[in-house]
């Protein structure tokens, strides 16, 4: 915020926290991959038990035609579900904060939604909804919905009482209180919910694909893993797994970036530079 005195000597490259945040975990990753590669080569483990990292990456390229398409399908389902869960969750939260009565009446059902395992519900949804993509999006969205509802509702209620009194003293309307006070106060909680839900959307999408088992052009990464498992094509299984993990990491990074963009200047949770 305030322009601090510029140091005479720039901080050494590796001493900067933003560089360390990338370099340190990367080093750990490299070491782990090296150990893995070493063990596989040293113990001469067959690729149908544990493929080496090199083989995994090689498979990623040779099988890219199938895997890339599957990645696109899974990412599409994840993102659609994430957006659907976010929009629905926020709308439900707005409804909840309108009156304590509505929340009291409906909250148990939100919890019910959360605690019912999606694997158990997915077959029903897949039977009811004709379109396979739509049914998988619904499954994944159901998994991702709850953190958005609970976090956003908590956030909309977590308004400083005196500040709310101040709005009331100035005869602020419900809409003014919502737009000028409740929504900004809820943002840190909302972004917390987004971070959790982005990961859950991916998990939901993968689970839905497993249950649906859709092949052909609509096949996602989970189907690739299933198929590769049947064919004992373990390297391809690992390659698909790697893609799923990378998708999850990418989503998390994206959410962290969005959160920083929205809250960086004022909220303590994003204040990493003091």
């Amino acid at each position: 915020m305030s322009p601090s005195a510029t140091p005479a000597r720039p901080t050494p490259w590796l001493a900067r926290p933003q560089v360390q945040r990338v370099v340190y975990p990367l080093l750990v990753g490299l070491v782990l991959v090296a150990i893995w590669q070493g063990l596989v080569t040293g113990l001469e483990l067959p690729p149908y038990l544990v493929p080496s990292p090199a083989l995994m990456v090689k498979t990623l390229f040779t099988d890219w035609a199938a895997l890339g398409l599957a990645l696109w399908v899974t990412v599409k389902i994840t993102l659609l579900a994430f957006v659907a869960a976010t929009v629905t969750g926020v709308l439900i939260s707005f409804l909840f904060v309108q009156s304590k009565g509505i929340e009291t009446a409906l909250f148990p059902y939100a919890v019910l939604l959360q605690v019912t395992p999606i694997v158990a519900v997915a077959p029903l949804i897949i039977i009811w909804v004709k379109d396979p993509v739509a049914s998988m999006v619904i499954c994944a969205a159901l998994v991702a919905l709850f953190p958005i509802i609970s976090n956003t509702t908590l956030g909309l209620r977590s308004v400083e009482p005196d500040l709310l009194s101040y709005f009331k003293l100035n005869r602020a309307s419900r809409t003014q209180v919502l737009v000028r006070l409740r929504i900004p106060s809820a943002l840190p909680y909302f972004f917390g919910g987004l971070r959790i839900s982005s990961g859950l959307s991916l998990i939901g999408a993968v689970v839905a694909e497993f249950v649906a088992g859709t092949g052909g052009s609509g096949a996602g990464l989970a189907y690739q893993i299933l198929q590769a498992g049947f064919q004992l094509n373990i390297p391809r299984m690992f390659a698909a797994l790697l893609l799923i993990s990378l998708t999850g990491v990418a989503l998390f990074v994206l959410m962290a970036w969005l959160s920083r963009l929205a809250l960086g200047s004022w909220h303590a949770s994003e204040n990493t530079h003091d």
């Binding site: 915020m1 500040l163 003293l169 100035n170 900004p184 943002l187």
Partner: protein, 275 residues
């Protein structure tokens, strides 16, 4: 120097009093008596301090004047109207809380503009008034800053500017400088007195500091706890402007001693159980 409560208006006083508290009391549904019936009349331009220990109902009384709390019995009038019809009198009220209660996501300027935005004042006109208010509290240079970049004292000034921006006739302050260090507090007290005189405000100021009460007030309402009640009223007749010299004068010590004595007496009658 001491005035019996309630005050009876003299025959010549035809001016409309700024505030009338008519047997207003607050008893919570669980039976807690936050405030026994209070009768109080405050003239325009007075600087009133509600002084007393924690739990004496001073904040309760202030919040009832503001309309934030409804009295369980009795009435409060501002310029002869109930609080919720204050706008009919053409008068304005501002409330300053114990904490700055600023929006952390908004700049100082946006924070100060809040009451005008809520009232639908056009942006250009509002911005001009915000600039004036910030100049009054000496924060013109910080209009673009976020609250977290300011010190506690500066945040409180922003809060006061937000009160002044509506050009109030009545300023209600609930222990506004309680959380600040003593040096900052003295400075803000002096600035507040200056504002009060320049803007011809009516101020009700809640504090638990005897020195602050003597320094600021034209009249001190002494309150006591368990149950919350008004004990006595003191007029502080020292002339304004009051400076730091006043604080070390024998006169100041005399008033402070008087208040101290009254406070101890009031506490002694109810606080035999507390340590």
């Amino acid at each position: 120097m001491r005035h019996p409560e309630p005050e009876t208006p003299g025959p010549g006083t035809e001016a409309v009093p700024a505030i009338e508290v008519l047997s207003a009391e607050k008893t919570y549904p669980n039976g807690t008596q936050a405030l026994l019936p209070v009768d109080l009349k405050i003239e325009e331009g007075e600087f009133i301090t509600l002084l007393g220990p924690s739990g004496c109902g001073k904040s309760t009384l202030l919040k009832m004047v503001a309309g934030l709390l409804a009295p369980s019995d009795g009435r409060l009038l501002l310029w002869r109207k109930p609080v919720d019809r204050l706008s009919e009198t053409g008068r304005k009220m501002a409330f300053v809380f114990q904490s700055p209660t600023l929006m952390p996501w908004a700049s100082v300027q946006t924070n100060v503009r809040l009451p005008l935005d809520l009232a639908g004042v056009p942006r250009a006109k509002a911005d001009a008034r915000v600039a004036d208010a910030l100049a009054l509290v000496g924060l013109s240079k910080f209009a673009g800053a976020l609250p977290r970049a300011l010190s506690g004292g500066m945040q409180m000034r922003v809060s006061i500017a937000r009160g002044l921006v509506v050009q109030p006739d009545l300023l209600l302050m609930d222990e506004p400088f309680g959380a600040l260090d003593e040096i900052t507090r003295h400075k803000l007290d002096a600035d507040l007195l200056d504002l009060w005189r320049r803007k011809k405000l009516t101020v009700i100021f809640v504090t638990h500091s005897i020195h602050e009460a003597v320094f600021l007030s034209s009249r001190v309402i002494m309150m006591a706890a368990r149950p919350g009640r008004v004990v006595e009223t003191f007029r502080i007749d020292a002339p304004y402007p009051r400076t730091a010299d006043f604080m070390v004068s024998p006169e100041f010590a005399h008033y402070a001693r008087q208040l101290q004595h009254s406070l101890l007496q009031a506490s002694a009658s109810t606080e035999e159980v507390s340590p």
